[in-house]
């Protein structure tokens, strides 16, 4: 069974008298350890799909299985737990807590996990920070770090609960191209280590890091193709 299986997913917003079909029957499956880019112009439903895949939102109709669990009908609390344990988010604007240290930021998902005892949290957070080569920046707050370092803290935070998928939304959008490449190299490494990665981007060269590109248009999947990297 695929890690993510989406079938006939609809997300319909009512805006005044007009009905907006943000997702108009999307079916998609993603296997474990796949590296997928989702692309599309603004208004194509890219963000909506990413919110649904990230369990931040529920669809109007359709099935959504993650790791064999039907997420489409879950309550807010259940979704919070899925987000905590199955999904690691990486955002364009990093979204770190500005007044907390790197270590504290990375520790946060473990706190909401509720199953990790307090004395193990620091070790796990340290391990995650070491994995992104930030072991020497644990006591720094986000404003004491460069953009690339902030994004690496965010990636460490995404990894710390050992999630089923890493969901990255324009992870290089706020970084210069050199730092962006470093971050992408980190994602490539994580993929090589067996992680499943979904990348939302509108940059063709960033999308090329993945093995597969799903292109959305008007709420529907227009193209679902393998990249050169995979073909090789």
């Amino acid at each position: 069974m695929p890690l993510i299986q989406v079938k006939d997913l609809y997300k319909i917003y009512q805006m005044g008298n007009t009905e907006v079909r943000a997702l108009d029957g999307v079916s998609l499956s993603i296997e474990k350890n796949e590296y997928v880019s989702i692309m599309g112009p603004s208004g194509s439903g890219k963000s909506t799909l990413m919110n649904l895949l990230g369990c931040l939102d529920t669809p109007s109709s359709g099935d959504f299985y993650m790791d064999g669990i039907n997420v489409a009908t879950m309550t807010d609390n259940e979704l919070a737990h899925i987000r905590n344990k199955k999904i690691g988010f990486v955002f364009q604007t990093f979204n770190l807590l500005p007044k907390s240290t790197s270590l504290r930021n990375v520790e946060l998902p473990l706190i909401y996990n509720g199953e990790v005892k307090a004395q193990f949290r620091k070790d796990l957070a340290m391990k995650a920070l070491n994995r992104v080569n930030l072991g020497d920046r644990v006591g720094h707050k986000p404003n004491e770090l460069s953009g690339g370092q902030r994004q690496r803290v965010a990636i460490a935070r995404a990894l710390v609960n050992d999630p089923a998928i890493i969901l990255a939304d324009e992870p290089t959008g706020n970084l210069d191209s050199k730092t962006g490449e470093e971050i992408m190299a980190l994602f490539d490494d994580l993929h090589a280590l067996g992680n499943t990665i979904i990348l939302v981007t509108h940059e063709e060269y960033i999308a090329e890091h993945a093995q597969r590109i799903v292109r959305l248009l008007d709420g529907k999947i227009a193209v679902d193709e393998l990249t050169k990297k995979k073909k090789k």
Binding site: N95, L108, G114, E115
Partner: protein, 418 residues
């Protein structure tokens, strides 16, 4: 399952609340201030009253236990002065009346007659006291009625009273002043040019309200009336009940017999006052109750205002931290996690304010009473707990809406919020 997770993360919500307060220190302090003032108001007043009460409860035992006290006007007149003239116009209580009451009383252990006058200078040879010594006239039961104890020497006896002997018992202040090195027994002191032989010395009683209670000379009541009484002298009569059980009955008997002694008709109201320690404490209690009520009202208003302040700040805080809430939700915080975080923050703010208010209140309350008395400090523990409980309550009541608002935020919109 989710409830359990919330409890597991409660300790962390705790830490997060502290972090949030620390991160917004100035704002937190300003918010605390209202609570501090409210709690301070009630605790300082309660502490002051409590210390006064404890000193008065012990201090008012001037009559000794189970003593009923009869005199022309009330012992304590607090507030209303309109009756003063009425009391003044009552006929004086004479020695003859007191003897008649003594003869009529059947249930009393003793009936003692007392009066006193202040501002006397006591001399012994070249030594003299300041002109502030109290001279009290009393009979053989007087030391029990006055709740003082003979240290050495002898008490007055029936014949001393009968013959109006010029003898005296001395308080410790007078002894120290006039007889620093000698034994006063048998020596002859003079008051107003009259000589008195010292027959006994009283034990030290200590201070009350910063005043010594040992600066006195006791002489037989008959002698007193002969040399010190004035046109307006009205005696006080102390009646001792045999035990606590018969106290109320004896009190009633005293009132009934005194009406006969005073020759009152059935329609006339008492032209004398019957008091006891409990009655005095009650009088004082009704006086402090007013102050307590006022302090309570001020505190309630201050705390409600402070609570609204907390709510206001928490609402601002929620708006300011929408993004943070979004991030927390994205990485797995449940509604309850967020709810508890913000609720605890509000409770913490008010509790810290409460603790500061209690500390200040106890400190200042004790300082106020220290000005009047030299008694030891009091911490009104019950009010401390009530204060802290009320603070937590206010934190919850005024924190729940902002916390609920924070918990209900949509994660996607919060994340997008700039």
């Amino acid at each position: 399952m989710y409830v359990r997770t919330v409890f597991k993360t409660l300790g962390d919500s705790f830490l997060m609340a502290i972090e949030a307060i620390r991160d917004n220190l100035l704002r937190s302090i300003l918010t605390l201030l209202g609570i501090v003032i409210g709690v301070f108001a009630i605790i300082s007043v309660m502490t002051a009253i409590r210390t006064m009460e404890s000193s008065i409860n012990s201090g008012l035992n001037i009559f000794g236990s189970d003593i009923i006290y009869v005199q022309k006007s009330p012992v304590l007149q607090i507030g209303d002065n309109s009756n003063r003239r009425k009391y003044w116009k009552r006929p004086n209580i004479t020695y003859e009346m007191s003897i008649e009451l003594r003869d009529r009383m059947e249930g009393a252990k003793f009936v003692s007659v007392l009066d006193g006058t202040g501002g006397k200078t006591i001399r012994y040879r070249k030594e003299k006291t300041n002109p502030n010594v109290e001279v009290d006239g009393m009979d053989e039961w007087g030391i029990q009625a006055l709740n003082v104890t003979l240290d050495y020497g002898r008490n007055f006896i029936k014949e001393d009273i009968q013959y109006g002997r010029r003898i005296a018992l001395l308080g410790m202040d007078v002894v120290e002043k006039l007889f620093p090195y000698a034994d006063p027994i048998g020596k002859s002191i003079t008051v107003n040019g009259l000589s008195f032989d010292v027959v006994g010395v009283m034990q030290r009683k200590g201070e009350m309200f910063g005043q010594s209670q040992d600066n006195y000379v006791l002489i037989p009541i008959t002698t007193y009336l002969q040399y010190f009484s004035q046109r307006w002298t009205s005696l006080g009569i102390s009646v001792k009940a045999p035990d606590a059980e018969s106290f109320e009955a004896v009190k009633q008997e005293v009132t009934d017999q005194m009406r006969i002694v005073r020759g009152l008709g059935p329609d006339e109201e008492n032209d004398f006052e019957v008091t006891s320690n409990d009655a005095l404490i009650k009088t004082f209690g009704s006086f402090t109750a007013g102050i307590k009520l006022f302090a309570g009202a001020v505190s309630v208003i201050a705390l409600v205002v402070a609570g609204i302040g907390i709510m206001n700040i928490m609402l601002v805080s929620v708006t300011e931290r929408i993004k943070e809430i979004g991030i927390r939700k994205a990485i797995g915080a449940t509604r309850n996690n967020i709810l508890f975080q913000f609720l605890l923050e509000a409770v913490f703010l008010s509790l810290i304010g409460g603790i500061i208010g209690v500390a200040l209140g106890v400190g200042v309350g004790n300082m106020i009473t220290l000005v009047f008395t030299s008694i030891e400090t009091v911490i009104p523990l019950d009010w401390v707990f009530i204060g802290l409980f009320v603070c937590s309550f206010i934190g919850i009541v005024f924190g729940i809406y902002p916390a609920y608002k924070a918990a209900g935020l949509d994660p996607i919109e919060s994340l997008r919020y700039e």
